[in-house]
């Protein structure tokens, strides 16, 4: 009888696979990433190592002693009380308590303050409240405290924002108008992000985490890079992290450039270099999980993209490993067996500097 191993699908469902099926999925996932981004495939030894991690009979696996990495967060600390339909626990508690719990109970290496909506635009009218919170948090915590928010340029388009919605315009074949709307939004979003962070830096923030950058495409990533550059110029010692929304930058505009490089279609190993050029200290690749493929397929694909970024990045790489990214299954309560296997593979095979 063939031995089967307990593993997962990309949506977290439990499945059993044979050794041969796991190897097949690992090789296919790695090959797809290598082909898409024009990067090296994983070696046979690395595939063997990943298979060993997946087939380990333990529920929980961990990295070898001495291979521990520093952790940064994206929104995690508001999850104690946040309950806006995306993973909040709904426990009545202030954000200060959430942050202190993450620092002293969950043993996080860095933490962050974030608005309940977790986008920059809604912070504008309540920035003084955020500044007051940041001051109190700085007085009560020791680990680095970032201000975290998403650029989320979609909020600048109608019906939520002042500029015509490029998706609507493109449906009407108004391509030039769509590009012009994106250009206006880039300028506005950049200005808002810099203004908000100027206030928070005056309130003692250690820095900023631009989370889920590029979610609205190349314009969104452009605004992030420009805001990063301006903030770095004004605050030389500020901590800046840029985390991405996906493995490839969507070309909503198509012609937006930064430092002479077209942003549309950039893969993680290329994104990392631009983030460093803009003055970021940390780069966070985000490799999306395909729910219809196995955990092995998704993990090999994510590790292949990330390993190339780690090699080419001039700055530390903290890979995104929340729900549905970095090989982690796409559901709100991802099985810990899969989370810890993905974690070990990212550290020991991709060689990340942090998570």
């Amino acid at each position: 009888m063939t031995t089967e191993y307990y593993t997962r699908m990309g949506d977290g469902r439990r499945v059993s696979q044979t050794r041969e099926q796991i190897y097949e999925d690992l090789k296919t996932g790695a090959a797809i990433a290598a082909d898409l981004a024009g990067i090296s495939e994983l070696s046979a030894d690395e595939i063997d190592k990943m298979a060993e991690i997946i087939m380990d009979p333990s529920i929980f696996v961990s990295v070898e002693r001495g291979r521990e990495v520093a952790l940064s967060m994206d929104g995690g600390t508001i999850r104690i009380d946040a309950d806006q339909g995306n993973s909040g626990c709904g426990i009545p508690a202030s954000r200060l308590i959430g942050l202190m719990t993450h620092e002293r109970v969950f043993c996080q290496d860095t933490i962050e303050l974030g608005h309940i909506d977790y986008s920059f635009k809604p912070v504008k009218p309540i920035v003084s409240h955020e500044c007051q919170n940041m001051e109190v948090i700085q007085q009560n915590t020791i680990v680095p405290v970032f201000y975290g928010a998403m650029p989320n340029m979609g909020l600048y388009y109608t019906p939520d924002g002042p500029y015509a919605n490029p998706s609507d315009l493109m449906r009407e074949f108004k391509i030039d108008e769509a590009m012009e709307s994106i250009d206006h939004s880039i300028e506005h979003l950049t200005r808002d992000m810099v203004w908000i962070m100027q206030k928070l830096m005056a309130s003692g923030a250690d820095g900023v985490n631009f989370d889920t950058s590029g979610a609205a495409g190349d314009g969104d990533f452009s605004a992030t890079l420009q805001a990063c550059e301006q903030l770095r110029s004004e605050f030389p010692d500020m901590y800046i992290e840029i985390g991405m929304a996906g493995e490839s930058v969507l070309g909503m505009h198509g012609s937006v450039e930064y430092a002479g490089k077209t942003l549309a279609g950039l893969w993680p190993h290329e994104q990392a270099k631009l983030c460093a050029k803009a003055g970021s200290n940390l780069y966070g690749p985000a490799i999306n999980t395909n729910t219809g493929k196995s955990f092995a397929w998704n993990l090999a694909r994510a590790v292949t993209f990330t390993k190339a970024a780690v090699i080419e990045s001039p700055i530390p790489v903290h890979v995104n490993m929340g729900m549905g990214v970095g090989g982690v299954p796409m559901l709100e309560t991802p099985p810990i067996d899969a989370v810890t296997r993905a974690n070990k593979a990212m550290v020991e095979i991709a060689g990340v500097d942090g998570i």
Binding site: R65, A70, M73, F106, Q138, I142, P144, N281, P316, I355
Partner: protein, 104 residues
């Protein structure tokens, strides 16, 4: 999930030297190995000792840079961060703005 990550591969923050290594990554763009070596050298330890709770608890108390439990009379918050500045040879914005910046 933060707990799973912390236990599977994290440096475990204030329990050990996780916050210190993170600060060197963020303030000086140090890659992981370089940041660990820098912090270990500043603390007079070897790299493996940075994640040893038994050693780091004592080191953190001696240097007064904050520990995971609430020890009466020991530095917490901004004073602990000011001590970290001195140990690591870096500037921390919160200390500049909310501690030194508020003094006459």
């Amino acid at each position: 999930m933060p707990i799973a990550h912390s236990h599977a591969s994290g440096m475990k923050g204030l329990r050990t030297a996780g916050d210190l290594v993170a600060r060197m990554q963020c303030s000086k763009n140090m890659r992981l190995g370089e940041a660990k070596e820098y912090v270990a050298k500043k603390l007079g330890l070897d790299v493996l000792q940075l994640t040893d709770e038994h050693i780091m608890r004592e080191v953190r108390e001696e240097l007064n840079i904050g520990v995971i439990t609430s020890v009466t009379g020991k530095a917490k918050g901004l004073p602990a961060k000011a001590n970290i500045e001195e140990v690591l040879g870096i500037k921390i914005n919160g200390c500049e703005r909310l501690l030194r910046g508020q003094l006459p």
